[in-house]
Symmetry: C2
Subunit: 387 residues, 2 copies
């Protein structure tokens, strides 16, 4: 059943090989000064930086550089970026990179015109911002977060061991996003599979809630099937355009709010993973894969009907045996796929040690939209089982 | 494979029972004078008219009435509506009804500020209009066309035996749409199932093109499964909110451009159906259902791989036998479902007589995005097989 919801996603997508040639025209719709946000500099090696700069110059923009965005963008980096934006009175923020870069750009966009310390403002804010927003555009170079088509952002405060995500409304969504699958060809395999698992888990977080008949669940299964099928091709043949293009578009659709419609949604795996990330700086997608199976095994009895459907519809598990047996074979299939593509299946390899468990549990937000609301001892038990 | 595409759908959706309470706030974003467009007056019997008028008055609007939009809106009606809009200098068009009413509102929106005869302007126009657009909002009362979330419109010229559809870009899409599934509870069964088949066929038109791996096809299958499953509930229990809500949202997603991404798309069934509509004024969805099976049987040999996938993924046909045998069993399943919900399976019951066939063939536009480009004799043969 679809209860009440609102849906609005104004992000304009330019998809496909060569889509960067739409960048100039989009930039011309905005003001003179552009804050060019990017990460560790891989875009300077693979030529994407040059293509973006060509469009910026062709559109006659003044470019303010803001590179060095780290995989888990920090409160200090946010402060630094806001200072750059204010000093240069930027009119537009162009994010060129993966989810962290897009997230950082959106966190910037809502902070520039608000007073006070950017981290404190960001940390406190759960509603649509009241101060003016600096518009954002994205050129995506890595698949996974879906940040390129939603209003979400995650910022980490390492001193306070906090990794905080907010989801803003449609005003904060990128005005446009360039999605060229060939830009993802050179992403290292470990980053690629972490992104693939991140996208897959976004679907799971929305799917594993409710037990009614909901068209969003049908769409979720379609995305999961596509991600699994195409990931198997991409890990063997990273420059397979068909696989990379389907993964790129599926990942955007996985978190552009579409498949959440009519769902309560869970997000507990993300809360566990983000708490791990605050303690270890581990790759986001790997923190999710490392805690997923212990979590799903734990909550399976509370949502057995849906886990059975997951087994049958996503993994083609034959409908033989009890619902719980079928459901468990679905999780086995998920485990097999995780091994096949090579994502982390335990927290130990991400640097988590038993003495960190209590702290990570402290940092884990408890969600109430899934099949079971975790207690503190349950969180600790799931984290221990993930070691 | 997903080739180059652009995607932008700015329509804001307010979904669910009671969603009409969002109407006032949306109306306040636009100018004073609202052209209130509706159909034959059923909304005055079921109370929807009163709810809409309440919101219009609460938003302090001047209301210009424009009722009587017929199921296949005509060129003369378009001329009349443009006259009303110009005389009253309307700022906004509010469509309350089904797809015909929404289509008419969008055809109006692009014609008001263009000079010349509205039909001639509409007929000639295939590109984004250059003259200013009057913004449109929709309150949907019938499920099927998807007009509530796209830039399409179909207008009929009975004198010239033409039924012409145009698809405009995102500027012409409704600014907002109110989707309350309870508004569809009182739609007569024949209209309901015609709308359901229309929505299903929209998915088919996009699905039956290409043979590659495309995430849009996975999403299309998800929508088809949902439509079939929920239609079976709705025909038995018209006030089943779960079924009606899934049908309503699936129908919007079926034609909001999402599942066309990376596809060439066919639309030949619609071209055949619209030509029938121009000759008979028959219900749109019924014209599609009447020609579908003869058309699909005819083109099956050219796209057997996809028709096999359709059989397996949408209809759960076992994968036994040759590809063609499996594919044919899929069409049998489609036929069975059409009988079950009670849509037209031949043109004779829609009033088509053998002497009309040549004229309908003349009026049928030939598309080139599907598995086979029809010749004139093939069109005649398919129409004869549909009698």
């Amino acid at each position: 059943m679809l209860g009440r919801f609102e849906f609005a996603n104004p992000t304009k997508i330019y998809f496909g090989k060569g889509a960067i040639d739409s960048l100039k025209g989009e930039l011309e719709r905005y003001g003179k000064t552009v804050q060019l946000v990017y990460g560790g500099g891989s875009i300077k090696k693979n030529g994407i930086y040059d293509e973006v700069l060509f469009a910026l110059h062709a559109a006659n923009k003044a470019v303010v550089e803001d590179g060095g965005v780290m995989p888990n963008p920090t409160a200090d980096k946010l402060r630094d970026g806001v200072r750059i934006a204010r000093e240069n009175r930027v009119d537009f923020i162009l994010a060129v990179g993966g989810g962290s870069v897009c997230d950082y750009a959106k966190a910037l966009s809502v902070s520039v015109h608000c007073g006070g310390d950017p981290w404190e403002v960001y940390y406190e804010r759960f509603e649509e911002p009241a101060c003016p927003i600096v518009p954002v555009g994205c050129v995506l170079t890595m698949v996974g977060t879906g940040s390129e088509m939603n209003g979400g952002a995650v910022i980490t405060n390492p001193e306070r061991k906090l990794k905080i995500g907010h989801v803003f409304g449609s005003n904060v969504m990128p005005k446009f996003t360039v999605l060229d699958p060939t830009y993802t060809f050179t992403v290292p395999r470990r980053q690629m599979v972490a992104g693939i698992y991140d996208a897959f888990n976004h679907v799971c977080e929305q799917y594993f809630s409710g037990e009614d008949d909901n068209v969003s669940d049908d769409l979720a299964e379609a995305l999961m099937r596509s991600i699994v099928r195409n990931s198997r091709v991409a890990v063997k043949d990273p420059e397979n355009y068909e696989a990379r293009s389907n993964l790129m578009w599926a990942a955007s659709l996985a978190l552009n709010t579409l498949i959440a419609k009519g769902k309560t949604t869970d997000w507990e795996v993300h809360m566990l993973g983000q708490a791990v990330g605050a303690y270890t700086d581990a790759t986001h997608g790997m923190t999710l894969s490392a805690v997923s199976l212990p979590y799903y095994h734990y909550i399976l009895p509370y949502g057995v009907k849906k886990f059975k459907r997951f087994a049958v519809e996503v993994w083609n598990v034959p409908e033989a045996g009890s619902d719980e047996e079928i459901a468990l074979r679905g999780l086995d299939a998920l485990d097999g796929w995780m091994q096949e593509i090579g994502v982390s299946r335990n927290l130990t390899e991400l640097g988590v040690t038993p003495d960190m468990i209590e702290g990570i549990a402290d940092a884990t937000r408890v969600m109430d939209g899934g099949y079971h609301v975790l207690t503190r001892p349950e969180i600790v038990a799931i984290l221990r089982a993930s070691l």
